[in-house]
């Protein structure tokens, strides 16, 4: 129960409606947050959480509905109006300038009081001390790890002394240990009487932190509950609207031949603020799934680019199915049996404006979809049709444009297109990122089935639960270095979390700063 039930709630949203072409993002949503309450907004990707949060922050204007602030009807017609009311927002994607210091970044948004840098730096340091948000105000942002950058965002928000703090998926970039620290800070803020709106789809976190939860599904509010008294399964049922069967990895098979071998792989960063790969050693055998954990921006993209051939490395550093291929083209590697599920779906995995049949040609051209320099459109349509049928892709047909598919179906299409090529080695980046729970489970089952059919699979993901659920062996990447890779049972969340923050081989830390 909120402490002051008799007073009007801090913020109250009634009947909020926001429509986009072809989709009703918010359909008459009600939301009430009391003072001093940590309130969860729970829902799958695409449930309408981000839209609702942007309405609260004044970034978008609702089509209909009423917003009351401490009992008074208000109009939040811009981010400045939200700030005046006392609403602070910490975005999912950081909005800091890499080449500026922490103080300079904060000064940009602070208006007149930002002019006295020394005083501002002192205020930042004081706030940081009070809430346990260790940050050096004089450091340049590009030196900061992702967790530190988030602290800067929170500090920037706290400088405005907000009454309501909105955090959009704040833990998606944190290690388990960093998440605990964040929660301690948030509890401290709530104890001061500030309200917190915490957006997440991770049930365990919501149950550990929040006093109340509003659950959204497909743009509608489906219920409100006290997450501390609900089971994770019960919350999942509310979120998804159906029972979800988790993927079962099953007994590992005897691994076969080495399908991927990285040998002392070094790679210079692609841009000044990028990450360099240093001395990566990795082996993936036929019939096993190897998972690589890590906080975003620790060299995952560089590692994937070196394996897929988008970046060139010395030939001997990357062996695919035994063949040195570090300097070879993506097409050559594909012929060796490599298939790739890229990080971004739209604009990389598929071309939004092209049909599914045309998108099949993108990587499956070698499956008889091209002959004599011409695209065989019939064969391409057949191939896309097979993917749609075998992988349960919900689409109008093989002539549907790729961006008419939902995120989960798009991912199933990409997965199917790669799997139907019978790869010897499949490399998947964040295979279930932004995919709803039901589709995630299907994707996991498909990956396990491919492994059982004898393929080697490498998965790079930020989702520890996913990695521990389906990987046979796991490791973590931090600042361009790879931790030891051990059996999933042996690793455990705790140890993997430490590896994600760089605590593995001695010496790895020494020159990282």
């Amino acid at each position: 129960m909120p402490p002051e039930a008799s007073n009007p709630p801090l913020i109250e949203l009634r009947g909020i409606v926001k429509a986009y072409p072809g989709c009703l993002a918010n359909d008459h949503i009600d939301l009430t947050v009391a003072a001093g309450e940590i309130h969860a907004l729970l829902g799958e990707n695409g449930a309408g959480k981000s839209t609702l949060v942007k309405i609260v922050a004044g970034v978008i204007v609702p089509d209909a509905g009423e917003i009351r602030w401490q009992g008074d009807a208000v109009t939040i017609d811009g981010p400045a109006a939200a700030r005046r009311l006392g609403i602070g927002m910490v975005f999912q994607h950081f909005t800091l300038f890499e080449s500026l210091t922490v103080t300079e970044n904060v000064a940009l948004g602070a208006g007149a009081e930002g002019r006295d840098r020394k005083a501002l730096a002192a205020r930042i340091a004081a706030l940081a001390g009070r809430y346990g948000l260790a940050v050096d105000p004089h450091r340049h942002v590009h030196h900061l790890a992702v967790g530190e950058r988030q602290r800067v965002e929170i500090l920037r928000c706290l400088l405005e002394a907000p009454r309501l703090i909105v955090l959009d998926e704040p833990t998606s970039v944190l290690t388990p240990q960093e998440t605990e620290t964040l929660f301690a800070t948030l509890r401290m803020l709530a104890a001061e009487g500030r309200s917190i709106l915490f957006i997440s789809h991770k049930l365990d976190e919501v149950r550990a932190l929040c006093q109340r939860a509003t659950v959204l599904r497909a743009g509608k509010r489906v219920g409100e509950c006290d997450p501390r008294t609900e089971s994770a399964a019960g919350l999942a049922r509310m979120m998804v609207g159906a029972e979800v069967a988790p993927a079962r990895r099953g007994a590992p098979r005897a691994p076969g031949g080495e399908m991927l071998r990285l040998d002392r792989l070094d790679l210079a960063p692609a841009d000044p603020y990028g990450i360099a790969l240093r001395g990566i050693e990795l082996s993936v055998r036929a019939g096993e799934i190897v998972g690589i954990a890590g906080v975003a921006g620790n060299g995952q993209s560089e590692l994937l680019a070196a394996i897929t051939g988008e970046r060139a490395a010395p030939d001997h550093a990357v062996r695919i199915a035994g063949v040195p291929a570090g300097g070879r083209s993506p097409a050559y590697r594909r012929k060796l049996g490599l298939a790739v599920i890229p990080e971004e779906r739209l604009g990389r995995g598929v071309v939004a404006e092209l049909s599914l049949a045309e998108n099949a040609v993108l990587t499956a051209a070698g499956q008889g979809l091209v002959a004599g320099g011409l695209v065989r459109s019939r064969a391409a349509a057949d191939y896309a049709g097979k993917v749609i049928e075998r992988f349960g892709v919900i689409a109008r047909g093989s002539d549907a444009e790729a961006d008419s598919l939902s995120g989960g179906n798009m991912q199933k299409f990409i997965l199917g297109r790669e799997m139907l090529q019978n790869p010897k080695l499949l490399v998947a980046a964040h295979p279930t990122w932004g995919v709803d729970v039901g589709a995630s489970a299907e994707i996991h089952r498909a990956l396990v089935a491919l492994r059982d059919a004898g393929a080697a699979i490498l998965i790079v993901s930020e989702d520890l639960d996913e990695l521990l659920a389906i990987s046979d062996r796991v490791g973590a990447i931090c600042r361009g270095r790879l931790s030891p890779v051990v059996a999933a049972e042996e690793a455990g969340r705790e140890r993997l979390g430490q590896w994600m923050s760089g605590l593995f081989a001695a010496g790895a830390e020494a020159d990282a700063a």
Partner: protein, 356 residues
């Protein structure tokens, strides 16, 4: 209130048919107002713009003569534009094509061997491609903005042509006119129809339409170009080398423009002079987009723009319309066409600043 653009979710079929009609009606109405306001008879003006130029066979052949270079240039440019390669320098590539072919014609003036004309075709295409290779190289090697380099090289080419016809290549018996000797019969493109200027180059341009269609819409290379233009990330993921697409786009555009230049010099003009093209290379950019970068669409667009060229001239002669007025009218037509095409894909929405 604020105005917002919104992509139409389902491109309604009827919109695609209605918008060209709407553009035609709007052009006619605004044309009538424009001509009437300036004191010209709108009926006569529109007649001399759209009807008179194509009333007889000669008019139709002139239409084809004008459409030929536009069609060639626009087909070549479409290859690049589809791949996100912005070659704005077709005018210069056309000019260099004319210079290369013209140089060959002048070298053999008076004793033209049978292989001369085919060699001029090759030289024209190669000259245009060579000129286009400069911005292609700069883009691939140094990531230079190809819009700027290709455009600036156009003016270099025009100045170079001016130097040649004023200086070393000037006709000694030409009363000091800045032009070369007339090309010999063996260096001139044969006519299709006596008494007109229609030449067999027009047939070649017509053959280029199915060829471009095959390349753009059916071939694997065309597919790769399209992917590179729509989503460079997907092209990198699929392993299509980005540099190769830039090269293909520029070489195709340059070779086709060079071919157009050769045909102008060795066709209707029959010599080199300071102005080979009244802006065909630039107009071809409009033609390419008017035809939606589609080979058949470009064919129709090139005919329409050629008609605008002819109509503008006819109106200037018949009604003594100032060139500025014909220019404004041509601009109106293109504005309405491209505008309605845009609105077929997007809708305007008025949005209230804040909901209650």
């Amino acid at each position: 209130m604020r105005l917002k653009l919104e992509a139409r979710t389902e491109a309604a079929r009827w919109v695609a048919f209605v918008t060209p009609l709407l553009a035609a009606v709007l052009t006619l109405v605004s044309g009538i107002i424009l001509f009437a306001a300036l004191g010209y008879d709108p009926g006569r003006a529109l007649n001399s713009f759209f009807i008179k130029p194509v009333e007889n066979v000669y008019g139709l052949t002139e239409l084809a003569v004008k459409a030929t270079p536009l069609l060639l240039c626009a087909l070549g440019l479409a290859v690049g534009f589809r791949g996100g390669v912005w070659n704005i320098g077709a005018e210069g590539q056309l000019t260099v094509g004319a210079i290369a072919a013209g140089g060959l014609a002048l070298a053999f003036n008076g004793e033209e061997p049978g292989w001369l004309l085919p060699a001029m075709v090759v030289a024209g295409a190669a000259g245009g491609a060579l000129w286009a290779a400069v911005p292609a190289f700069l883009r691939v090697r140094f990531n230079t903005n190809e819009i700027l380099t290709s455009l600036m090289l156009s003016y270099v080419a025009l100045q170079f042509l001016g130097y040649l016809v004023h200086g070393p290549w000037r006709d000694p018996q030409g009363f000091n006119f800045p032009q070369t000797r007339d090309f010999g019969a063996g260096a001139t493109i044969p006519l299709l129809m006596e008494g007109t200027r229609l030449h067999i180059g027009t047939l070649l341009a017509a053959l280029a339409v199915p060829a471009a269609w095959l390349l753009l819409d059916k071939s694997y290379l065309g597919f790769q170009i399209r992917v590179a233009g729509l989503a460079p990330g997907a092209a990198a993921y699929a392993g299509y080398p980005a540099g190769r697409i830039v090269w293909v786009g520029f070489i195709a555009g340059g070779a086709m423009a060079g071919l157009a230049g050769m045909m102008e010099a060795a066709g209707p003009i029959g010599k080199l002079q300071p102005v080979i093209s009244p802006g065909y290379g630039f107009a071809a950019i409009i033609v390419a987009f008017l035809g939606r970068l589609n080979a058949v669409g470009i064919l129709f667009a090139s005919l329409l723009v050629a008609l605008l060229y002819l109509g503008g001239e006819t109106a200037q002669i018949d009604l003594k319309l100032p060139p500025a007025v014909t220019g404004v009218f041509q601009g109106l037509l293109l504005f309405f066409l491209l505008g309605s095409d845009f609105l077929a894909r997007y809708r305007l929405k008025f949005e209230r600043r804040a909901a209650a």
